[in-house]
């Protein structure tokens, strides 16, 4: 399948997405960017969060419940996709994965990924961000991977959302990070299809 072929706009399904890692990785922003892109396409998003009272380090989690109208229950209970960017989030963060769902982990920062009844993709997200020029854009690389695989927002809407919600001086860098994420997801899709 091509990533754009099951845009959530075209059907009725609800999606639950979790972004989990450590404080300071920018995962709340990743969730906010995706939610912003989705509402521009006529969908509803409920975003909840959990984080510890430290500005760096400690578990940080953002959950999105996405659908065609206001969800009955706004908190995630069975995630279709979970993004894990830090080992600290790997245990508790993965608990709500739906059977057959997908967990995307960072190869470098999650050395012991969870295992179970789900598809696990361990990808060089942080390494790619470093190669582009800044480890701090790993959250946007990861967002690109996630959206390409989950086919939630259109690529144009996501690019526009990155532009709207990130500082102007980092815009080009963030768009490059998004592109790298898409590239990684497409390579992964091609590989699993082969």
């Amino acid at each position: 399948m091509t990533p754009e072929s099951t845009n959530a706009n075209n059907n009725d399904r609800r999606h639950e997405i979790r972004f989990a890692g450590s404080g300071g990785q920018g995962l709340q922003l990743s969730a906010k960017i995706l939610a912003y892109a989705l509402i521009g396409e006529g969908l509803y998003a409920s975003q909840s969060q959990s984080y510890e009272p430290t500005s760096r380090g400690g578990l940080s989690r953002a959950d999105l419940v996405i659908g065609p109208d206001e969800p009955d229950f706004p908190l995630a209970t069975a995630a279709d996709f979970i993004l894990l960017l830090d080992q600290v989030a790997a245990n508790d963060g993965a608990k709500i994965i739906k059977p057959g769902g997908t967990i995307i982990t960072d190869q470098r920062l999650v050395p012991s990924p969870p295992s179970g009844d789900f598809r696990l993709l361990a990808l060089p997200i942080t390494d790619t961000a470093i190669a582009i020029g800044n480890p701090r854009i790993a959250n946007v690389v990861a967002l690109g991977v996630l959206n390409a695989l989950a086919a939630l927002a259109s690529r144009e809407a996501l690019e526009a959302a990155v532009g709207a919600l990130t500082p102007a001086k980092f815009r080009e860098l963030n768009l490059e990070a998004l592109k790298a994420g898409y590239g990684m997801a497409e390579a992964e899709t091609a590989e699993s299809a082969a």
Binding site: Y36, G40, S46, S48, E70, F73, P74, L75, T77, A161
Partner: protein
């Protein structure tokens, strides 16, 4: 509205921010408060929005002074609000009582966290249901609204200002930490589409003016500062002149009017939401976040052929008893789901009888999930 919240005329807004935006849209032009988790974003947003509309924001030295300032601003003619959480709500109670007795319109937001005392500041709770009803001393009415979504935080905050103005009373808006911090997609109503109510101002002859003389609606018009009315305001029991009295007939008349003015207006005060109640064998009663879990539980139960319904009070106090009795008519069992050790439960037991009612309670700082409601329904069926 901030640019990063709006896309194609739709908005992703946090519950606490929706509260602040609604207050501004309702005409609130004064905020005094002392920040406290998990309500601080209400104050933060008000401090950004009020200057844009010529309003006043004051961070006071504490919650007691905040409530005093809100009442003073309201007597000065402005729509005024404060926001807090459990420990701060306790401190405001003395002045909330003054606001009830002196009939001073005001809106108090309480974003509930775990208690007692400082408890669990970042965890959700519904432990202030009885504090909202009976937190201040003496016999009194309480008007308490309990939204269950970000969209409803907006509409109920607007309604809180309308009720405060119309009924000349403090109005409390009560929601849990999850609703306060949840970001949801909402369609903001156009400001001109909102129906806003302003308090009645006195226009009687100034000679012989009685500031607490009420007409048929039991609500005395307020003297607008600068209009030249001589008036007196006190927290002591008073007669129509506004001056203290201990005359038993006048004391009883004053308190009876304060209670009856709310009873007289139950048609605008009461609000409740019913879901699949007509033929329900089992009825869940829930408000705030547990009501969202119950909505999903009702749909899943119905798919399994279980006749489950939901009664969701939007006005918690006075409890919408008439609507509840209609919704509970066919129910053999009633489950009260709330994030406390059993507070609204007492009211439901009083109305429906203890033998029909089962509790589903959590007070561990965690929410009630749809599956927990379905489990409780399974046991009750």
């Amino acid at each position: 509205m901030s640019k990063t919240e709006a896309n194609a005329n739709r908005h992703n807004v946090q519950g606490n921010h929706a509260c602040a935006l609604a207050a501004i849209a309702a005409g609130c032009r004064f905020y005094a408060g002392y920040p406290i988790t998990p309500s601080s974003e209400v104050a933060e947003r008000m401090s950004l929005e009020l200057p844009k509309v010529g309003g006043v924001f004051i961070q006071m030295e504490d919650e007691i002074a905040s409530m005093g300032a809100v009442l003073g601003a309201s007597m000065g003619g402005l729509k005024a609000m404060t926001a807090t959480s459990g420990p701060g709500f306790s401190l405001k109670q003395e002045h909330i009582g003054y606001g009830i007795l002196a009939e001073t319109p005001s809106v108090v937001i309480n974003v509930m966290r775990g208690g007692p005392s400082t408890g669990m500041p970042t965890r959700p709770s519904q432990g202030d249901v009885m504090q909202a009803r009976w937190g201040t001393h003496g016999d009194h009415t309480a008007i308490v609204l309990a939204p269950a979504s970000v969209a409803e935080v907006y509409t109920e905050t607007v309604r809180a200002f309308n009720l405060a103005e119309q009924l000349r009373s403090p109005v409390i808006v009560l929601f849990d930490e999850i609703i306060g911090h949840l970001v949801e997609t909402i369609q903001l109503p156009a400001p001109e589409s909102l129906q806003l109510i302003e308090r009645k101002w006195a226009d009687a002859p100034k000679e012989g003016y009685l500031p607490y003389a009420a007409g048929d609606d039991m609500i005395p018009p307020m003297p607008r500062p600068g209009d030249g009315y001589r008036s007196h305001t006190t927290g002591l029991t008073h007669d129509e002149s506004g001056f203290p009295t201990q005359d038993p007939a006048k004391a009883e008349a004053m308190l009876a009017r304060l209670i009856n003015k709310v009873e007289r207006h139950r048609d605008v005060v009461d609000a409740a939401d019913m879901m699949a109640t007509e033929d329900a064998d089992i009825l869940v009663v829930a408000y705030g976040t547990p009501a969202r879990a119950a909505r999903r539980a009702v749909k899943e139960a119905r798919e399994q052929g279980i006749k489950l319904g939901l009664f969701r009070p939007i006005t918690l106090w006075p409890f919408p008893e008439r609507a509840f009795l209609a919704a509970a008519k066919s129910a053999k069992r009633i489950i009260v789901a709330e994030m406390n050790a059993g507070q609204l439960l007492l009211e439901i037991e009083r109305i429906a009888g203890r033998e029909r009612v089962s509790p589903l309670l959590r007070f561990d700082g965690e929410h009630i999930a749809p599956d927990e409601i379905l489990d409780a329904v399974g046991k009750a069926a």
